[in-house]
Amino acid sequence: MFADFDLVMEKLATKNLWDFPGGVHPHGYKTLSNTSPIANVSLPEKLYIPVKQHIGVDSELIVNVGDYVKAGQALTQSHSPFAVPIHASSSGKVVDISNHVAAHASGLSEKTVVIELDGLDAQYELHPLLDYTKYEKTDIVEAICQAGISGMGGAGFPTHLKSNSNKPVEFLIINGVECEPYISADDRLMREHAWQIRQGIDVLVHLLAPKQVIIAVEDNKPDALETMSIACQQQENYQVVSIPTKYPAGGEKQLIQVLTSREVPSNGLPIDVGCLMYNVGTCFAIADAIIEGKPLTKRVVTLTGKALNKPQNVWALIGTPVSHLLKHAEYSPTEQTYPRIIMGGPMMGFTLSSVQVPVVKTTNCLLSPSEGELPNIEDERACIRCSACADACPVSLLPQQMFWYSKAKEYETAEEYNLFDCIECGACAYVCPSEIPLVHYYRIAKSEISQQKIEKEKAEKAKIRFETRNDRLLKEKKAREEKHRLAAEARQQAMKSDTNAKDKIAAALARAKAKKAAQHADADTSVVPADTKVDDKKAKIAAAIARASAKKAAAAKKTTQNTSENAPTSTNVNAETPEVKAKNNESESAEDKKKAKIAAAIARAKAKKAKAKETKNNDE
C-alpha cells in the first residue's frame, strides 16, 4: 500500500492523519523552559570548536595556533563534497589546537580548536545572496555548504547534500515536532522566529521545487502552531499540520509515516519515497546563511531540569563549554546526589563525563535532572518476556528477542531480527518493567558487529599477505638453491673442461691479493677517521643493545616475585656498568672502544643468562 500524492493531500485536508505503531507518552516537562524568550548568554572566555561536527569526512584546518580569527571566519576547508567547514563563533586568538573532550557519549577526546575570545565579537565579512532566486542553484547549495550547516535535529547530516537531490521531491517536510520530553528549543524558535524559518523554507522550495510543503508541529505546542500558520499563510502549497503528541513522532521515518503513510525502505533514504525532511532549526540557519550571509555559529539550546534554578532557552555559540551555560542557568549541585548532565533529551541524549564538553551544531538541550526527577540507574532484572517493549517499538521490532541474542552475543541471529533497523529511540527501555537498558545492548551489538566485519576483512588481508610472503620466501629459497647448484655445476664444468683453470684461479687470487694490499695501504693513511666514526656508531648500538637487555632482565625480574630479593642488585649493576663505560668511551681512544664493545657483549650475555634464570625460576 503506497499512498499516492492525492490521497495524502486528501488526508491532510481532513486533518485525519495516519499513525505509527508503538510509541510512548512520557510526561513532557516542556513548561520548565518554554515560558521565557530565548536569552543571550555572555561570551565565555574560551571557545572549544571540534573540527568535525557532522557525519561525513574530515576537513583540513586552515588556521594555526596564534592566528587571530573573527566571528564567522572559516577554520577548515575541504574539497570533498562530504565535508562542511567549521567557523569561529566569535573573535579572538587561536591558542591551541589539540585534543579536547568531545560532545560524544564516549567522553573521548577529539581534535578541537581552542579560541581565546577578545570580547569584541568582531565580524568577518559576510557574503549574503539576498536575491537568491537570481543565482544558480549550485551557488546556493555551495553557500549552504560554506555556512557549515548540518542537520540540527540530531544526526548532523550535511544539509547541502540533502538539498542537492536530483530525484523529484513530492513532500518537503519541515520537522517542528520536537517529541522528546523537556526540549523546547524548536518550540521557542518557531514562536519567535517563524518568519525567518519561513524564509529558510522558501530557499529550500526554490532549490527543490517540491509539490507540497508540510510543516509538522506536535499538538502540545499551540503557540508555535499558530505563529507558523501565520508565517506561512501566504504560501499556497505550505501547510502547517498539527500531529498528535506521541514519542517518537519526531523521528524522520516516523514523521513520514504519520504524514504520508509511506515507509522509507530499510537501507533507503526518505527521497526514495518522495520526501525530504529538514528540522526547523536547519531552516532558520539556511535563512541566516543565504539572506544574511552568516555561517552557523550559534544555535538555540534548551537548558532545563530541576537542578537548574533558571531553566530557559539560550542562544549558545558553537564551542561554548557546558560549564558556562550551566553557570548561566544557575546550576545547583545540591539538587543531585549523583550528578548527571545529559546532552540531548532524556530519551536519546547522552550523559556527559565532563562539563568542559563544548556545545556543537547538534546540541539541542542540556538536561540536569534533580534527585528523583528521572529514575536512577538500577540493576536490570531478568527479562520476563512481557513484550511491553515490542508494543512500544515504533518500527515493529521484537526488542526482547534482539536483547536475548545481543546479550548472548549471537549477533547473526540478532541481525536476522533486523537489529540494524533499530532507531535507538529508547521507547522499549522506557517501558521495560525489568529496567533492562535495552538500547545499550543494541548499541554494543551494533558496534561489535561492525567491528567484527572490519576484523574479518583485516583477517582476509592478513591471510593473503602471509601466504604471499610464504610463497615469496619459498621462491627465494628455491632461487638461491638453484643459483648455488648452477654455480657448483659451472665450477665443476670449468674444472673438467678447462685445463688452464688452475692457472686462472691462481691468477685471480694473485689479483685479489694485490688489490687488497693496495687498499690496506690507503686505509692506513686516510680512512682512519671514518673508521672511528663507524666504531663510534657501533659502540652506541652495542650500548643500546646492552641497555635493552638490561631492561628486559629487569622486567623479567619484576614479574618474578619469589626471587626478587636476592637477584636484582647484581644484574642491575652488571647491566649498568657497560652503559656508563660506553658513554665515557665516546671521547676516548679506539682501543677503549673495543673494550667497551666486549664489555657490552659480556653484559648482554650476562643479562640474557639472568633472564633465562629468572624465567626458569618463574616456571618453577
Binding site: F20, P26, A105, G107, P181, Q257, E263, V264, P265, S266, G268, P333, P339, R340, I341, I342, G344, P346, M347, M348, G349, F350, T351, L352, S353, S354, V355, L367, L374, I377, D379, R381, A382, C383, I384, R385, C386, S387, A390, D391, P394, V395, S396, L398, Q400, Q401, N418, D421, E424, A429, Y430, V431, C432, P433, S434, E435, P437, V439, H440, R443
Partner: protein, 353 residues
C-alpha cells in the same frame, strides 16, 4: 568533588517495574477470591497463605543456593504470584501438604531449575497444578459445592482445621462436607456433567442437578464474573494485552458452538463452558503469564485461540472435566514456534513471501 555519572540512554523510565506489574495482577485477583470465599468458604484464603509462603520460602532457598541477589528477586513478587495462582486453582479444603508440594514444585522445578524468572518454559502455577492433579487425583478433585447447597456449614476455624488435619473441628471429613442436603456427594458442575455423560445421560439431563440451578452453575458463574472484572482491570491498567483472553474465549466459544450444533445432547452449550470451570480465570490470569505466553500480537491471538480450542476438545473427549491447565501447558510448548512464525514486519521491510 563528585563524579558525573554516565549511562546509556534512555535516562527516563515509566516507573513501572516487574514487582509493580506482579502486584497489580495479585490485586486484580481479589474480586475473584472474595467471590470464592462468599460461595465456597474461607478455604481459598488459607490456601493462598500457605501457597504464597511456601513459594516465597522455596524461592529464597533456591536463590540463595544460586548465589543471586535474593532481596531484589523476592521483590519482583513473581513467586508470590505463582503461589497465589496455584492457591485459587486447587480445591479450597485440599490438605496443606498438597499446597506446599505444589508451590515448591512450581518454584523449584518449573521455575528455578529452568533458570528462574523469564526462563521458565511452562507456567509454574499450572505445571504444578497438573502435577498435583495427576499425582493426587482424590484430593485434587474434592471440590466443595456452594455453601448454599450443603448440609454442613463451616467456619473459618473449620476450614483451617480441615486443611491441616483433614477433618473439621466437629469431626466431619471433607467428603461429608461435600454432601448436599440429600446426602449425596456433590461435585463441580463440569465434573458432574462428565460423570453423567459417561453414564449415558444427556447434557440436558445432567444440568437438572441442583448445582446447575437451571443452566448455570451456582457459585461458579459468579466467581467467573468476579474474575472477569479483575481481568478487565488488568487490561485497563495495560498489564496484559486483550489479545490472549479475548481470542481464548472466542476460540473456546466457537469450538463449543460447533460441537453443540453437531450434537447438543453430548456436548454442553457454549454458555455452560464459558461460565463453568476456570475458563475466564484462565483466560485473564493464567494464559497471560508473560514468561510462558506468546509475545507477538499475532502470536498471542493464535496462542489464545488454540488454548480455547484445546480446552473444549479436552472437556469433550478427555478424562479431566476442566482442561485449562492442560491446554495452557500444551500451548506453552508451542510458544517458540508461534513466536518464530509471527514476527511482525519491521518498518521499511517488504512482506516476506
Amino acid at each position: 568533588m563528585s563524579k558525573l555519572s554516565v549511562a546509556s540512554s534512555p535516562h527516563h523510565h515509566n516507573g513501572r517495574d516487574t514487582g509493580a506489574v506482579m502486584r497489580i495482577v495479585m490485586l486484580a485477583c481479589i474480586p475473584g477470591m472474595l467471590a470464592q470465599v462468599w460461595f465456597f468458604g474461607y478455604g481459598v484464603l488459607i490456601q493462598a497463605l500457605i501457597c504464597i509462603s511456601a513459594a516465597v520460602l522455596a524461592e529464597i532457598a533456591i536463590v540463595e543456593l544460586r548465589k543471586k541477589n535474593t532481596e531484589r528477586i523476592i521483590k519482583d513478587y513473581s513467586a508470590a504470584l505463582a503461589g497465589l495462582l496455584l492457591a485459587i486453582s486447587i480445591p479450597p479444603l485440599a490438605p496443606w501438604w498438597i499446597a506446599v508440594i505444589g508451590s515448591v514444585f512450581a518454584i523449584v522445578i518449573v521455575k528455578q531449575l529452568y533458570g528462574g524468572l523469564g526462563y521458565n518454559m511452562f507456567n509454574p502455577a499450572m505445571a504444578a497444578y497438573v502435577m498435583l492433579l495427576i499425582s493426587f487425583p482424590v484430593q485434587m478433585t474434592s471440590w466443595l459445592p456452594p455453601t448454599t447447597l450443603t448440609e454442613q456449614s463451616f467456619s473459618l476455624w473449620d476450614a483451617i482445621h480441615t486443611i491441616f488435619t483433614g477433618y473439621t473441628s466437629n469431626g466431619y471429613s471433607v467428603e461429608q462436607l461435600r454432601a448436599g442436603v440429600d446426602g449425596i456427594t456433590m461435585a463441580t458442575p463440569l465434573d458432574h456433567m462428565k460423570t453423567e455423560l459417561l453414564q449415558g445421560f444427556t447434557v440436558q439431563e445432567a444440568i437438572t442437578a441442583d448445582i446447575f440451578n437451571g443452566s448455570n452453575g451456582i457459585g461458579w458463574t459468579q466467581v467467573a464474573i468476579a474474575y472477569l472484572i479483575g481481568g478487565v482491570v488488568l487490561i485497563k491498567a495495560k498489564v496484559i494485552n486483550w489479545h490472549i483472553p479475548i481470542s481464548m474465549i472466542i476460540g473456546a466459544l466457537i469450538t463449543a458452538s460447533i460441537l453443540y450444533m453437531i450434537d447438543s445432547s453430548l456436548f454442553g452449550s457454549p454458555w455452560l463452558h464459558l461460565i463453568n470451570g476456570s475458563l475466564i480465570m484462565g483466560a485473564f490470569f493464567i494464559a497471560t503469564d508473560p514468561v510462558s505466553a506468546a509475545t507477538t500480537n499475532k502470536g498471542r491471538i493464535i496462542f489464545g485461540a488454540l488454548i480455547g480450542i484445546w480446552i473444549i476438545l479436552i472437556r469433550a473427549w478427555g478424562n479431566y472435566p476442566d482442561a485449562v491447565a492442560f491446554a495452557v501447558i500444551l500451548m506453552n510448548m508451542a510458544v517458540p514456534l508461534i513466536d518464530y512464525y509471527t514476527k511482525p514486519r519491521t518498518y521499511g521491510h517488504k512482506v516476506k513471501k
